[in-house]
């Protein structure tokens, strides 16, 4: 369902060209849980942004749920993102000015979900991550672990086909990290495709497959579970 073929991404400034992805070819099947690992600057985040349609490849082909999307307009990519993807970020990226429930609701706003249904689904998603009692709080009033739970709820509330998680446990202590991993694993088990960038070998172990990147190339793939 996600297929990259010879995808390169070059960042150009006036004087420097940076090759962030170098002729990458890979595939992620539906319902698969994939971990992406590698040292800083190896292209993990660029890969994730490309998979998440936040960035377009400089060259190569990207098939996203059966559609070629490498040359699509911003508007079309936004619509696809809206329909298919949920994000979880290392730094949570909750909107400070909105309450917990309102933050989760944002994921439904642009999908034109009616407000009654929005409220119901937001409540369910928050209950599922154990944050229902904090719905009216603001992000600053929560711990890091709690914030990331809310971010997971936001990613799940729209019933996405794909969850992209960029070091979701990077800013969390062990206990909270484990909790977030459990949520992502549960999502994968329910049929959602999960691609997660991580530095943690332990958390990568929760995935079915690990891809290692170095200097913009895939250097190894490890199949952990059948």
């Amino acid at each position: 369902m996600l297929r990259l073929t010879n995808v390169s991404k070059i960042y150009r400034t006036a004087e420097v060209e940076t090759l962030a992805l170098n002729e990458i070819s890979m595939e992620v099947r539906g319902g698969e849980f994939v971990a992406v690992m590698g040292p800083s600057g190896c292209g993990k985040s660029t890969l994730l942004n490309t998979l998440g349609l936040l960035d377009t490849p400089t060259s190569g082909s990207f098939e996203f749920f059966g559609q070629e999307v490498a040359r699509r307009s911003e508007r079309e990519l936004t619509a696809l993102r809206c329909e298919r993807i949920g994000f979880v970020f290392q730094s949570f990226n909750l909107i400070d000015d909105l309450s917990v429930a309102e933050n989760v609701e944002v994921a439904l706003l642009y999908r034109k979900v009616p407000s009654g249904e929005r409220r119901r689904r937001v409540a369910e998603a928050l209950d599922a991550v154990g944050m229902g009692h904090r719905a009216k709080h603001r992000p600053q009033q929560l711990s890091g672990g709690q914030q990331q739970r809310v971010a997971v709820a936001r990613a799940l509330v729209s019933n996405p086909s794909l969850i992209l998680a960029d070091e979701p446990t990077g800013n969390l202590d062990t206990v909270n990290g484990e909790a977030v991993m459990a949520m992502l694993t549960a999502a994968a088990e329910s049929g959602v495709t999960v691609v997660m960038v991580t530095h943690s070998l332990a958390h990568a172990a929760a995935a079915q497959r690990t891809i290692k990147l170095l200097d913009g190339r895939v250097v190894s793939e490890t199949l952990l579970a059948a």
């Binding site: 985040s45 942004n49 998440g52 936040l54 960035d55 911003e74 508007r75 936004t78 619509a79 993102r81 809206c82 329909e83 993807i85 994000f87 970020f89 730094s91 990226n93 909750l94 909107i95 400070d96 000015d97 909105l98 309450s99 309102e102 609701e105 944002v106 994921a107 706003l109 642009y110 999908r111 936001r154 729209s158 960029d166």
Partner: protein
């Protein structure tokens, strides 16, 4: 979705309280100024529109062209014109005249005042101008010789009640009866007056003018056309009407009438204020459309400056909203969704600003009314058009000012924002810089305009008149007699006293055809008294001043010969003398009238008589320096009639000023037989001619101040933002060895740059605008280079003073803290 946007907007506003307050305050001040300016412009553009049927009402405007003179138009005309027009043109329903002469003394019981608001009017006046009536029948209220109509304010002043119908007033000793009370006139009417006396009174100004007939030009003539009649058709026939009826009349009285050309037209009632006549005759000073346009432009500029502030502050702080934008985009928001959200947020800001602005405008309106001498109201709740315009301007400003920040904010790329990477606010910095330049350009130009108007007003009041009015008091007496003069001279502290004719002190104009050999010229003339020139510090350029010891100098003692005269420099040129010296001892022939009188202006032109030129004085004036100083001659005239002698100029010892003024007051009470005292210091008296300048200058100064304060708000916030954004850079520089003062210089230079650009933009534009404005004066100051340097310097000082606090704070911060910051 709207609720979610609203929540984000309002909480963002709360979280950034100080910045939000600065943004909203700037906008509110801008809007409040725009509201007040708008009210003023509306007031000026709607003169006399409250009068029912105003589109059928006209004032006769005369165009007079004397030989070798530019055409002059006057809103006054001859006393007989009204009746002749009515006879000639069947399309005319009513005609009526008004005249405000020397203020009569009005007395009721203990109240006795010199009624400055007294107007004489013909019986049909209130049929032509049917103003709202409080009591009685104004339309027929001026038919008898003892009828008087009051405004509500005048009724209260004299009678202490609103409807004193039948009440009696003594006007110059004659009993008159109140027939009607009208509502107080609004300030947007050209009409001036609170007490309207019937022209049928035998002692009325109009009755006197009736005797002068076509030689007078001292009353307004109003015309109301019948329904459906065309003013253009009457205009087209006025030329032949003049030739047939008016010119023969003038020739009959004045056979020596030398080719002065007359024309006439009907001026619509609602144009009187906006097209004031250059030759005078309007009951109130008119408006200058160009100045109104300038004020309108300033109003727009202030809103632009406030809107720029808004744009600057919103984009400068845009990076704070980057996460929100990134998340919303990642979760599927299209760019247009975000543009809608941020434009909506801009509308919230402007809506809050509008509410504050309305409150501010209501608070300031009484002061503005007092300063502009207007009675404007701000009744937005009962005036849907006003409300609509206000909302329209607000929404337009919100949309225009909100668009760019929305564009910048919605352009953030989620891939870099969400990783916590640097936020590239696309183009924000450059545009912001340009906007700051524009703001400062506006305020520098306004500063320069205010300074130039101030200089010109001062020049018009002092240097340009070529008189020294310091410590000179003018006392009006009708007439100013030798007895009065001598008694005042005897008061301790009085250094000099001399009578002057209305023409001498700029209250009226008299002209005569003069001859020097075969050369004839129309010259103005003004009777004065011995000592008049000395009091105002006017030295002779050539020859000498009049001397009481020489009988030939005193026109009061001559009957069949004319007194000696003094020329001003313009008259020397007009008569063709090669130099002032060359004129001395020469003969000039004119029509000296030893018995001219205010009460008998219809005397035939006296025979030509020769006068010797004894002196030449510089061109001086008691009028506005908008007009060129007329070629004029002066002579010592009779002092037994107000036409020749009305103003006693008194030079007072500055050391004993207060006691001397009091002593003169006491003297007046003793000798005036109850006549109210009218006295002014000469410089204040002249100020009345420049009141519009003073208002304009003050107005522009206030606007400049507002623009400065709004721009400072913006710059203050911008400097705070820059300081915050550059903390890391400055930390690195300091770690590399930069001192605090070097950093301070760096930051101050950064803020000086846009101001320097602003100067480049503003100074040439302001130069052009003020040069154009000054050309409206016959005598004006030159644009002084120092004012440009000062305006430019002030701009920089203001900018530095505003940013200094933040710059200093950042410059003095310890680098270790700065580096840890990010």
């Amino acid at each position: 979705m709207f609720g979610n946007y609203l929540a984000a907007s309002i909480r963002n506003l709360q979280r950034n309280g100080v910045y939000a307050a600065l943004t909203v305050t700037g906008l509110a001040i801008g809007f409040a100024s725009a509201i007040l300016i708008g009210l003023y412009l509306r007031h000026e553009l709607t003169y006399d529109q409250f009068i029912p049927g105003h589109e059928r009402v006209f004032l006769v405007n005369q165009l007079i062209t004397a030989p070798d003179k530019p055409q002059v138009d006057m809103d006054v005309s001859s006393a007989h014109l009204a009746d002749d027009l009515k006879l000639e043109f069947p399309q005319i329903e009513y005609t009526a005249r008004t005249a405000a002469g020397f203020p009569p003394t009005v007395r009721r019981g203990d109240v006795s005042v010199s009624e400055l608001q007294f107007v004489w009017a013909d019986p049909d006046f209130f049929k032509i101008l049917p103003v709202p009536v409080v009591a009685g029948d104004a339309a027929h209220g001026l038919e008898a010789g003892d009828d008087v109509v009051l405004t509500r304010a005048a009724a209260r002043r004299y009678f202490g009640r609103d409807a004193p119908i039948g009440g009696q007033l003594l006007v110059d000793g004659h009993a008159m009866r109140v027939t009607a009370v009208i509502e107080d006139l609004p300030s947007n009417t050209h009409l001036a007056g609170e007490v309207f006396g019937s022209s049928k009174a035998t002692f009325s100004m109009l009755a006197m003018l009736d005797k002068a007939g076509y030689t007078s030009n001292s009353n307004q003539t109003y015309v109301r056309l019948k329904s459906g009649a065309s003013a253009a058709a009457i205009d087209a026939q006025l030329h032949s009407f003049l030739d047939r009826r008016v010119v023969p009349q003038i020739r009959k009285i004045d056979p020596d009438w030398h080719g002065v050309r007359y024309a006439m037209r009907l001026k619509p009632l609602t144009s009187i204020h906006l097209q004031p006549s250059d030759g005078g005759g309007d009951p109130k000073p008119g408006a200058d459309v160009k100045v109104l346009a300038g004020i309108g432009v300033i109003g727009v500029l202030i809103v632009v400056v406030a809107a720029i502030n808004f744009v600057t502050l919103m984009t400068a702080r845009a990076s704070r909203r980057a996460t929100e934008v990134g998340v919303r985009k990642a979760l599927g928001a299209q760019r247009k969704d975000l543009i809608v959200q941020f434009m909506g947020e801009a509308l919230i800001y402007v809506a809050v600003a509008l509410v504050l602005a309305v409150a501010l405008a209501e608070l300031l309106l009484p002061a503005v009314n007092a300063a502009l001498q207007r009675k404007m109201s701000f009744s937005y709740l009962t005036d849907p058009s006003l409300l609509l315009v206000m909302l329209g301007v607000t929404v337009a400003t919100g949309l225009l000012a909100g668009f760019y920040p929305a564009l910048v904010l919605s352009s953030f790329r989620p891939s870099s924002v969400l990783k916590g990477g640097p936020v590239a606010a696309s183009g924000g910095g450059g545009v912001r810089e340009i906007l700051v330049v524009a703001q400062f350009a506006v305020l520098i130009a306004l500063l320069l305009a205010a300074v130039t108007i101030y200089r010109q007003t001062n020049f018009g009041l002092k240097d340009a008149t070529h008189t020294n009015k310091d410590g000179v008091m003018m006392l009006f007496a009708s007439p100013c007699t030798e007895t009065l003069r001598n008694e005042v001279l005897a008061v301790p502290g009085v250094r000099g006293a001399a009578c002057g004719s209305p023409a001498a002190v700029g209250l009226s104009m008299s002209s005569d055809m003069t001859f020097r050999g075969p050369r004839k010229t129309m010259l103005m003339y003004a009777p004065v008294d011995f000592g008049f020139f000395q009091i105002y510090g006017i030295p002779p350029i050539a020859g000498r001043l009049p001397n009481p010891d020489r009988p030939g100098d005193d026109g009061a003692r001559l009957k069949d010969t004319a007194p000696t005269i003094l020329l001003n420099e313009a008259a020397v040129r007009a008569l063709g003398f090669p130099s002032p010296q060359a004129a001395i001892g020469q003969q000039v022939i004119w029509h000296f009238n030893p018995t001219s009188s205010f009460t008998d202006m219809a005397q035939p032109t006296p025979p030509p008589r020769a006068s010797e030129v004894i002196g030449v004085v510089p061109d001086f004036t008691f009028r506005s320096v908008r007009q060129k100083i007329d070629a004029t001659f002066y002579y010592v005239g009779p002092r037994n009639d107000a036409l020749n002698s009305v103003a006693l100029s008194i030079k007072i010892d500055p050391v004993h000023r207060a006691e001397t003024v009091k002593a003169i007051d006491r003297l007046w009470t003793k000798i005036s037989a109850g006549m109210p005292l009218q006295q002014y210091f000469a410089d204040q008296f002249l100020l009345r001619l420049y009141i519009d300048n003073v208002i304009q200058g003050g107005f522009i100064a206030v606007c400049a101040l507002i623009a400065v304060s709004i721009a400072c708000l913006g710059l203050f916030a911008l400097s705070a933002y820059t300081a915050e954004r550059r903390t890391r850079e400055i930390g690195i520089r300091k770690a590399m060895g930069a001192s605090s003062s070097e950093i301070l210089r760096l930051l101050l230079w950064q803020f000086a740059k846009p101001v320097l650009w602003a100067n480049l933009l503003a100074l040439p534009l302001a130069w052009l605008a003020m040069d154009y404005w000054l050309k409206g004066f016959a005598y004006h100051v030159d644009l002084a280079p120092w004012t440009f340097v000062a305006a430019a310097g002030t701009g920089i000082v203001i900018a530095w003073a505003t940013v200094f606090f933040h710059a200093l704070r950042v410059a003095r911060a310890r680098p270790v803290g700065a580096l840890r910051y990010e």
